[in-house]
C-alpha cells in the first residue's frame, strides 16, 4: 500500500503549535500505518509558504518522498489540483490521508482522479486481503465499519487521532540536515479579487423576504400558528404520572 499525506501549509502557522495540534495527525497516522502494514509513505505539502519548517521536520521523521507545491493564490484551488494530479496518476494502490477541514483540495483531487472519498474517518487499518478497514462517524452518534479497496481519499476526523511526536533532537537535527524536497510553483491565472474589511452578511427582514418570495412566485404565503404552549398538568401518584407521560408520548407520535 502507498500511503500519501496531504498537508495544507498555512503561511503564519507556528510550526510547534502545528505539530502539537490535531493538524499534524494525518502525518502521525501515515507514519504508524506504514510501520504497521508496510508500503511507502509520501507527504505532499501545499500552500503559500516559501520554505516551511514543517516539511523539514517531515524529512527528519524519516520520510524521503516529500513534495512542496506553492501557489500565489490559495483561493483558487483548481490550479493546485491540476498540479497535484501528476503525482497521483497511475498509483492505484494509494490511500491519501487528509484532515477534514474547510479545504476543498482533497475533494477536487478525488473527483479529478475518479477515486472514492470517505469522510468522517475515525480509525484506519488494513485487512488480510489488502483492503482498507475504516471506522466512520455518522449523524446522530452512529458509527459504521467499512471495507474498501484502494485507491481512496480518506478525510480524517482529527479529534480521533494522535498528533505527531518528534523529539527535540529530531527537530533540531532537521534544521541542520540537508533536505531534498520536490518543489513546484503552481501557476495561477490572475483573477480579479478585491480584499476588503470584514462585513457581516445581509439577512433580509421578515417583511422583505416574504415580499421577495411573493413577487417571484405569486404565491400566497402564510405563517402557521404557534403551537399552544399551555401545559397539560398531571398531579398524583408516580403510577398515574407514568401512565400520563406514556399516553402523551403515544399521542404525539413520539413512541
Amino acid at each position: 500500500m502507498n500511503w500519501s499525506v496531504l498537508l495544507p501549509l498555512g503561511a503564519s502557522e507556528d510550526p510547534l503549535a502545528w505539530m502539537e495540534s490535531s493538524a499534524s495527525s494525518p502525518l502521525a497516522l501515515g507514519r504508524s500505518l506504514m510501520r504497521r502494514y508496510g508500503g511507502s509513505l509520501q507527504v505532499v505539502g501545499y500552500g503559500k509558504e516559501e520554505s516551511p519548517v514543517i516539511l523539514q521536520w517531515v524529512w527528519a521523521s524519516g520520510i524521503r518522498d516529500v513534495w512542496h507545491l506553492t501557489t500565489a493564490d490559495l483561493m483558487a484551488p483548481e490550479p493546485m489540483v491540476e498540479a497535484l494530479l501528476p503525482i497521483y496518476q497511475n498509483r492505484d494502490s494509494t490511500v491519501i490521508l487528509a484532515a477534514s477541514s474547510r479545504d476543498v483540495v482533497p475533494g477536487l483531487l478525488a473527483a479529478s482522479l475518479g477515486w472514492t472519498l470517505v469522510p468522517e474517518v475515525r480509525a484506519v487499518s488494513v485487512g488480510v486481503d489488502e483492503r482498507v478497514m475504516v471506522r466512520q462517524g455518522r449523524r446522530g452518534g452512529w458509527q459504521a465499519d467499512l471495507r474498501l479497496g484502494p485507491p481512496l481519499v480518506l478525510l480524517l476526523d482529527c479529534r480521533f487521532f494522535e498528533p505527531l511526536y518528534l523529539t527535540v533532537r529530531q527537530r533540531q537535527q532537521a534544521l541542520v540536515e540537508k533536505v531534498v524536497i520536490n518543489r513546484r510553483m503552481v501557476r495561477v491565472e490572475a483573477r480579479e479579487r478585491v480584499m476588503r474589511p470584514y462585513r457581516r452578511l445581509a439577512v433580509k427582514g421578515a417583511s422583505s423576504s416574504a415580499r421577495d418570495a411573493r413577487t417571484r412566485l405569486g404565491a400566497l404565503l402564510q405563517t402557521p400558528s404557534e403551537p399552544s404552549k399551555r401545559a397539560k398538568r398531571v398531579e398524583g401518584t408516580t403510577d398515574e404520572a407514568v401512565r400520563a407521560i406514556l399516553e402523551f408520548l403515544v399521542q404525539q407520535g413520539l413512541i
Binding site: M75, E78, E120, G140, L201, R216, K229, D239, L246
Partner: protein, 339 residues
C-alpha cells in the same frame, strides 16, 4: 435581463434529517439577486422526504428535483450516477451547495464542479448575481478581519459552496401555493467498492445533543450521579441523548458536553424531557425551541412548567425509574406481538 438557472443543492440522510429545511429557509432569507435568475431549482439528494413535505416548505424556489438514493457514506460511483441522471435536465449556470457543519455537502460540491467543469468558490459567506449576469462572491479570508470579493464572468459556470449563516432564530416557515414543479428520480446505489461491515449504535453518552431527536435531561432534582444512571437507562429506551442543567454539570454528576443552555448547547429536539430542572432563563435559552417539552418537577410552581407541553408534578427519580420499566414492558409486548 435574466440569466439562466440556479440550482441549490442539499443532502438528506434519513427521514428524521430535517436540516434541509433550515438550509433552504436561510437561503430564501439571504439577499443574493434572485431577480436576475430565470429559474431557481432545489436539488435534494439522499433519503428525500415525501413530495408534499417538500412543496410545503419550498421558500421561493420555482421547482425541485428529488433524487432518491443511498446515503453518502462514501462519495464515489453513486454520486457520479446521480450527476448523470441530473444531466437529463437543462444544467445550471450557477450551482449553490448549502453547506452546514457537514463536510460532505462541500465535498459533493467539489465533485459536482469537477464533473460540470465549473469554477469552484469555497467558504463563501455571501454572493450576488449582478444585473449583467456576472457573479460576485464574498469569501472569508480571516473571519472578522478580511474578506475577498471575486467576480466571475457571465459566461463562466460557477459552483458556490455557501456557508449557511448561523442564526439563533429558526427560519420562518412559509407555505407556498400552487405553481411548483416537482420531479422525483431514483438512482440505485452503485458504490460497489464500499462494503458496510457493521453499524454501531450510539449510547446516550455518545449521542451528540445537537443531533438527538429526543433528549432526556436532569438537574439538581435528580440528586446525584446515580440519578443520571437512572436517566441513562431511560435515554437508552427512548434512543435519546442525555442533557443536563449547569448545576448538575457543576456538581460533577455529568460532563460539560451534556450541558444545555446559554453557556451550554442550544438544541432543537423533537422531545425534551426535563427531570428536576427548575427552568432558569439561562437553561430555557437552550431548550425552549424543542418541539415537545415534558417537565417533571416536585414544585408545582417551577418555571419550567411555563414552557412545557406536559407538566408532571412528581418525584423525578421515581418517575424516571418507573417510566423506564413501563417502556421496557411495552417494548417486549410489541416484540411478542410481532413474533
Amino acid at each position: 435581463m435574466n440569466h439562466g438557472r440556479l440550482w441549490a443543492f442539499t443532502l438528506v440522510d434519513d427521514a428524521a434529517d430535517r436540516r434541509w429545511e433550515n438550509a433552504v429557509g436561510r437561503f430564501a432569507e439571504t439577499e443574493w439577486g434572485a431577480k436576475f435568475i430565470d429559474e431557481v431549482t432545489l436539488i435534494m439528494i439522499g433519503a428525500v422526504p415525501p413530495q408534499e413535505r417538500v412543496s410545503s416548505v419550498l421558500y421561493g424556489m420555482g421547482s425541485a428535483i428529488l433524487v432518491k438514493t443511498a446515503p453518502f457514506d462514501a462519495i464515489g460511483d453513486t454520486i457520479q450516477a446521480v450527476f448523470r441522471a441530473l444531466a437529463d435536465y437543462p444544467l445550471p449556470s450557477v450551482s449553490v451547495f448549502l453547506v452546514d457543519d457537514d463536510w460532505r455537502v462541500a465535498m459533493l460540491g467539489a465533485f459536482w464542479s469537477t464533473w460540470l467543469k465549473a469554477c469552484v468558490a469555497a467558504n463563501v459567506s455571501s454572493f450576488r448575481v449582478m444585473p449583467d449576469g456576472s457573479i460576485q462572491v464574498v469569501q472569508d479570508v480571516e473571519v472578522g478581519v478580511t474578506q475577498a470579493v471575486t467576480t466571475y464572468r457571465p459566461d463562466e459556470k460557477v459552483t458556490i459552496l455557501w456557508d449557511i449563516p448561523h442564526v439563533s432564530t429558526p427560519p420562518r416557515v412559509r407555505r407556498q401555493g400552487d405553481g411548483l414543479r416537482l420531479d422525483a428520480i431514483t438512482v440505485p446505489d452503485v458504490n460497489r467498492e464500499v462494503e458496510v461491515i457493521r453499524l454501531i449504535e450510539p449510547t446516550p453518552q455518545e449521542l451528540p445533543l445537537e443531533d438527538a431527536e429526543r433528549v432526556v435531561a436532569g438537574g439538581r432534582g435528580i440528586e446525584g450521579p446515580d440519578g443520571f444512571a437512572i436517566l441513562e437507562e431511560l435515554a437508552t429506551c427512548l434512543r435519546a441523548g442525555l442533557g443536563a442543567s449547569r448545576v448538575a454539570v457543576d456538581q460533577g454528576w455529568i460532563s460539560y458536553a451534556h450541558q444545555v443552555g446559554q453557556s451550554g448547547k442550544r438544541i432543537h429536539a423533537r422531545l425534551y424531557m426535563a427531570f428536576g430542572i427548575s427552568g432558569a432563563p439561562q437553561h430555557l435559552d437552550g431548550m425552549k425551541d424543542c418541539e415537545t417539552i415534558v417537565a417533571i418537577n416536585r414544585d408545582p410552581k417551577a418555571p419550567i412548567f411555563d414552557v412545557a407541553h406536559l407538566a408532571v408534578v412528581a418525584d423525578a427519580r421515581e418517575v424516571a425509574r418507573q417510566l423506564t420499566l413501563a417502556l421496557r414492558a411495552r417494548e417486549s409486548e410489541e416484540h411478542v406481538m410481532t413474533v
